[in-house]
């Protein structure tokens, strides 16, 4: 059982998809129930991972599976090579945790072609889980592309007014990035073959990470990977697909997109781009940190100016993901741990905010801030939950957002990114401005619009959706160690590896320079 836990978890949604496809088209409620049950089962399958103490001490991959998948003579070998460590652990759990919540949120929101929607959602879950556990670059690429298709249809079929534009833009942006990554993947593969990596290892990242790739080559390869991941994150200036996709997607789509798909980009940096090309990482750090800071401030400023709640939350994602990137490129334990934690935080709080926007939209069929006002009097329970999530997004002490942002800023400050940290800190203030201002306009004051007077408070189903998210807001806020302690060994190991290689490269560069100097002196 535990031998194949990851495969079971990853492919169970696919089985669920087949079941859903054979259900009668009209049985709307049945389809939704079956899908919900499938996603809950997947969550239960993944739950033992959370209680496994092996992650407390070991930085290695666990639950690994290795099966030869495609092998073609002496050309290629692609392996089904999966495993989980401190980096992917919480992201996998976040995925399995968010999925039932997202499905539950569709109960009343999705009413046409339910079957198609649920089948795509389950396919998407397989894609996402597969991408998080893949240890073979080829396998990762397959899952990475597999995620595109369901999300494309989700936005395009069930989305809002501008859905076609948003769906096509989402697909094109992401696919263009990944195609260049494919070239880089093949190139690294041939490089590893030349370097004598045994053929049977295929596209295994563990072996790719041990390669000694020349610095200038690393720059190109890193650029190809980083381009692909930066689009997905999304980093400024590749973020333009995100507001469109988020705004047009149905609520469940936005939640999945924000909570999990965006993490693919940052995860890609931590898992692939940085360990594979440490020297290039060092050289690209100023550029990427600058873009991250621009993203933080730009996202916040644009969010402030939005009159649509959903767009506001979408732009706040740009800002939050900028923090994550800054933490990652600090390249020390605090920064990375903060980045990782903030990835989970963002999944919880932004996912929750999208759900909240969805609740509002279901009631009023509008998302304009101006149409609301004074809702706290009409919907007291809703108001409390909305407030907590707002605080969590802002990063108030006691909530999860605070821990993540604090660690990131400390990490970045100590990791030699001081100037960036100073600018990034303004992002925290701006976040408070746009979130609280929005909250004030929507929830506080008098009820100005008569249509808002008789809105129903949260239903039992909606409470069930929000309560688990609330739990984690405070759990991470008050006792983040549960999560940090299991990612630390892996992150420590990563920092050590990357720093070590960077130092060797720097020493080599110094040597070269001094040799040139000596040579020049000799000439004189």
């Amino acid at each position: 059982m535990t031998d194949h836990l990851l495969s079971l978890m990853t492919f169970f949604p696919l089985v669920g998809m087949l079941i859903v496809l054979f259900l009668p088209r009209e049985a709307d409620r049945l389809i939704k129930t079956v899908t919900l049950i499938v996603t809950i089962i997947v969550f239960l399958i993944s739950l033992p991972l959370a209680f496994d103490d092996v992650f407390l001490t070991s930085s290695a991959m666990h639950y690994t599976e290795f099966v030869n998948w495609i092998s073609i003579g002496q050309y290629f070998q692609m392996n089904y090579n999966v495993g989980i460590d401190g980096i992917s652990l919480w992201l996998v759990l976040l995925t399995t945790f968010i999925m039932p919540i997202a499905i539950l949120s569709t109960w009343n929101a999705v009413d046409k072609n339910t079957k198609g929607f649920m089948a795509l959602a389950l396919l998407l879950e397989t894609g996402m889980l597969g991408a998080f556990i893949a240890l073979d670059l080829f396998l990762f690429y397959v899952f990475w592309e597999l995620m595109l298709v369901p999300m494309y249809f989700m936005i395009g079929i069930w989305g809002g007014k501008n859905r076609i534009y948003a769906a096509v833009k989402f697909f094109l942006f992401t696919a263009v990035g990944s195609l260049l990554m494919l070239v880089a993947i093949i190139y690294v593969y041939y490089f590893s073959m030349k370097a004598g990596v045994p053929f049977e290892n295929g596209f295994s990242i563990a072996h790719f990470a041990q390669l000694d790739i020349p610095a200038n080559l690393q720059m190109w390869l890193f650029a190809a990977f980083a381009f692909s991941f930066a689009i997905k994150v999304p980093m400024f200036p590749f973020h333009t697909w995100l507001p469109d996709a988020h705004t047009e997607a149905p609520t469940a789509g936005s939640v999945i997109l924000a909570a999990i798909l965006l993490k693919m980009g940052t995860y890609g940096f931590i898992r692939f781009a940085i360990p594979l090309f440490p020297v290039a990482t060092m050289k690209f750090t100023p550029l990427l940190a600058t873009l991250a800071v621009i993203g933080i401030i730009y996202g916040a400023l644009v969010a402030m100016m939005q009159d649509d709640v959903k767009k506001l939350v979408a732009y706040s994602s740009v800002s939050h993901l900028g923090f994550v990137m800054l933490g990652i490129f600090a390249m020390n334990l605090q920064g990375l741990a903060g980045g990782m934690l903030q990835m989970i935080n963002h999944g919880i709080s932004t996912g929750a905010l999208f759900l909240i926007v969805g609740f509002l939209y279901e009631r009023r069929h509008t998302r304009l801030i101006a149409d609301f006002g004074g809702l706290s009097k009409v919907m007291p329970v809703f108001a409390v939950i909305f407030m907590i999530m707002t605080f969590s997004s802002v990063g108030l002490p006691g909530t999860n957002g605070f821990v993540g942002e604090f660690l990131i800023l400390v990490g970045a400050f100590e990791g030699g990114l001081r100037v960036y940290t100073v600018f990034a800190t303004t992002g925290v203030i701006l976040a408070a401005v746009y979130m609280l201002w929005m909250f004030q306009r929507v929830m506080m004051g008098k009820v100005t619009n008569p249509k808002n007077e008789n809105l129903k408070d949260l239903s039992a189903r909606e409470m069930v959706i929000m309560l688990p998210l609330l739990l984690f807001v405070f759990w991470i806020g008050f006792y983040p160690n549960t999560f940090l302690s299991k990612m630390n060994p892996t992150l420590e190991n990563l920092v050590e590896q990357v720093k070590g290689k960077q130092q060797i490269a720097m020493m080599a560069e110094d040597m070269e320079q001094s040799v040139t100097k000596i040579a020049v002196n000799d000439l004189r």
Binding site: W69, I70, S71, I72, G73, Y75, F76, N113, Y141, V142, E145, L146, L148, V149, Y152, F153, G156, I157, R163, I164, A167, V168, F171, L172, A175, V176, L179, L180, L182, V183, I186, Y187, Y189, Y190
Partner: protein, 486 residues
Amino acid sequence: MNDLVQNALLNVNIAAILPSLILVCFGMGLLLINVFLPRGTTRHAVWISLIGLAVTGFFVYTGWGNPQYGFNDAVAMDNFAAFFSITFLVCAALTILMSDDYLRREGYPVSEYYPLILFATAGAMWMASGTDMMTIFLGLEVMSISLYVLAGFFRGQVKSNEAGLKYFLLGAFSTGFLLYGMALIYGVSGSTRLTEIGVYLKTHASLLDNPMTLAGLVLLSTGFLFKIAAAPFHMWAPDVYEGAPTPITAFMSAGPKAAAFAAFLRVMEYCFFTLKPEWTAMLWVLAVLTMVVGNVIAIRQTNIKRMLAYSSIAHAGYVLVGMVAANEIGYSGILFYMLAYTFMNIGAFAVLVLAGKKGEDNLTLEGLSGFGFKKPFLGVAMTIFLFSLMGLPPTAGFAGKFYIFAGAIKAGYIWLAVIGVLNSAISLYYYLRVMVYMYFRDPEEDYAWVAMPGAVVVTIIIAIAGVFYLGIMPGEVMELAKQAVF
């Protein structure tokens, strides 16, 4: 004289042509049977052709790994020819399966249609197995003449007439180029046998920069590139593909194209291996041009058949990348890709066969509005084929592109691979647009689509199976493709 005859007789090796011989016999037999049956009966022809293709396939299959040479080395039924032959046979079988109901709907239930496909397939097999210029030429003509007739098969339809005539005129023109190239090469080397030409050019290095050799090389390539529909020799393709009966368009875009690639590859590898740097440089430019022209013009198309015609040009460009790579993986990538392309493209056309109304005026993007919800099975099938044409995993199209670009990267053509993937990115746009209309738009007029005849549905299911088999488990077929290249 006596010696010559004796020599020729000694070199007869029926095994080398047995599969294609069987196929031709089936075609001839079918023609004869047709004479005795009333007009309009076609079912028997479908079955007989399918049986013929299956028997041929069986003999090709049993000959795997046991190459047969004959007729003074004019024919070689080696693994290379066998692999391509299987591709042609699959292509022909799928085409025939989807044709019958289509011909009935369009009002041409004529059984001569089927022998023509069999002859075209036999011609394609001779092209793939030809190791002599004359064999290749013979195969090319047999294939092309059958196709000229098939393209203009709907003699009452102006578009089909135009397609047939255009294809014939331009095809004849290009054949002239090809023949002239062969003549020049014969003039240089004194032989029509591919291996002998290669050896002669190698031992007489001074001939390599002889204008006559180079002119011969260029003219030969022109002839093949025309059949492949590579830019700038692609002008005929959109009109012919749009006008020809849909199953024939499907057939032409896969089988004969693969045949031209087979012959092209063999000629280049056998005769001109000494000139490799020159012709790879030439093909580099043409590959880029073909990909760009095909993909960029496809964006502007609203007629789906025409769009797929341009996409087919673009795919020829990807395959040319494999030829530029000119290494084992690039070549076996070509073999794999043509088989993969056969499944996905024929599948897409099979869906169009069912989506079209009589006269096929509705095969435009607008005409497919809401199609995916009206016909869920066809919608999903089309989606799968389009994703495969885009080259998304886990489909055959992805595996094929992967190997071809991997070949290019291994040979050091990194920029070519980058241009290739960027072109794939362009292609995403117009393939996605079909899905946008199929799924994201509501139908404009509410009419019932044609019924779903079993044979076409079977075609589509086979094609889907092929796309996923080659996409998820490409290992075995790729291994065979590897054994098939020289």
